[in-house]
Symmetry: C2
Subunit: 195 residues, 2 copies
DNA sequence: ATACATATTCTACACTGTAGAAATAGTGCC
DNA sequence: GGCACTATTTCTACAGTGTAGAATATGTAT
């Protein structure tokens, strides 16, 4: 499998080995397979390449992980207008949590990223979903913060004390229902004040 | 400062060096000072002792960290009956968050601990505080889960993207107020159903 | 042909947790 | 006092981590 002696310099173009794409999807596979963040050396071994080659494509390990993260956000649930807002919110949350669960090693990367983190995508979709409720701006922001941090905390607890998948979804539903009830109550209250 | 050659075996009893106590408080100091979990070697250097000596008192690094954690929980706010339940809840949350903030490196230890984690203490105090509200059992559990995981997620976000202390407290208040409003609404609703 | 950019490997450093053995001191028993 | 056993420490070593810096080989433009 592994050529025991490799030539040192740039390879001939017909046998090019690496690319950002290849590195990202390799890191992705290893992450999903193990649930943990793979080491640079593990990625290199899997691609039969020297660890330092990776640094030609990414300036640091965390840059690579951010790359993986950016690609993952694209899979997050997009609100479908035929669903009720409660359904949309539920779908959004479980889709986001699914991502956080399968890639729980990335949680800290998610939160450390300066821009374009999945949290931003989540926020945008959340705002779309609850816009029709006509909540006061304050409630909007506060309820969003509450939900986002709740989901992160929940994901972290799964990461640290893993349970069965079914259990996981169940224990999301309770608090989420409570949360939706709270949103509803506030919606009603603010509508009463307006009319 | 450091004796360049130390004798190898057990020291004479008048110059005993280590103890669980000493290790715990040293780890505590380093944690609080840097915000990060210190390495075994750092602790050993600070105590001018061989790293492996630590393993005589704790079977693993994580056992040491759990030890630190257990000691810390004792400082968590105890509900004072002259305060309203809202005040009690606010104090409890900011006391818990203060701990999570100053020892954010311990967050994963908190959540991985099998028993006696600070989360347990938090849960007990929470239940005391909201007991007078007479919430249905389901709401009780769900609102607790929501709050605990929210606080953990919030602490994690501070850990990953640190901000000023004042900012920190402010961004807790909003969601917490929203949460308290939700609790109040549910309390009223359930009281209406009872009477 | 010569210079420069690109892509790769190699070597090395400073870390990490910790397993296993060696050394010394204390304690209890004969 | 001698002997076995335990307690407390240091030393050596292993396998792992991220990554800096240099050497090497290819491709490309002048």
């Amino acid at each position: 499998m592994e050529n025991i002696d490799k030539k040192r310099g740039r390879p001939r173009s017909d046998q090019a080995k690496l690319s950002k794409e290849i590195l990202l999807s390799c890191a992705n596979e290893l992450l999903q397979g193990s649930g943990k963040v793979p080491s640079i050396r593990k990625i290199a071994r899997k691609l039969d390449v020297d660890p330092m080659a990776i640094y030609h494509y990414f300036p640091s390990k965390s840059a690579l992980l951010e790359g993986v993260t950016v690609r993952l956000m694209e899979g997050i649930y997009i609100p479908q207008s035929e669903d009720t807002w409660e359904e949309q919110l539920r779908f959004l949350c479980s889709s986001y949590l699914d991502l956080l669960k399968n890639y729980s090693g990335l949680l800290e990367t998610f939160l450390s990223m300066s821009v374009k983190g999945p949290a931003q995508v989540f926020i945008a979709r959340f705002n779309t979903i609850v816009a029709p409720l006509g909540l006061p701006e304050d409630d909007m922001k506060n309820s969003l913060d509450l939900l986002v941090d709740y989901l992160h905390g929940f994901a972290l607890s799964i990461h640290c004390a893993p349970k069965k998948d079914s259990l996981t979804l169940d224990s999301l539903n309770g608090p989420l229902n409570f949360y939706i009830k709270a949103l509803t109550a506030n919606m009603i209250r603010s509508k009463i004040f307006i009319h």
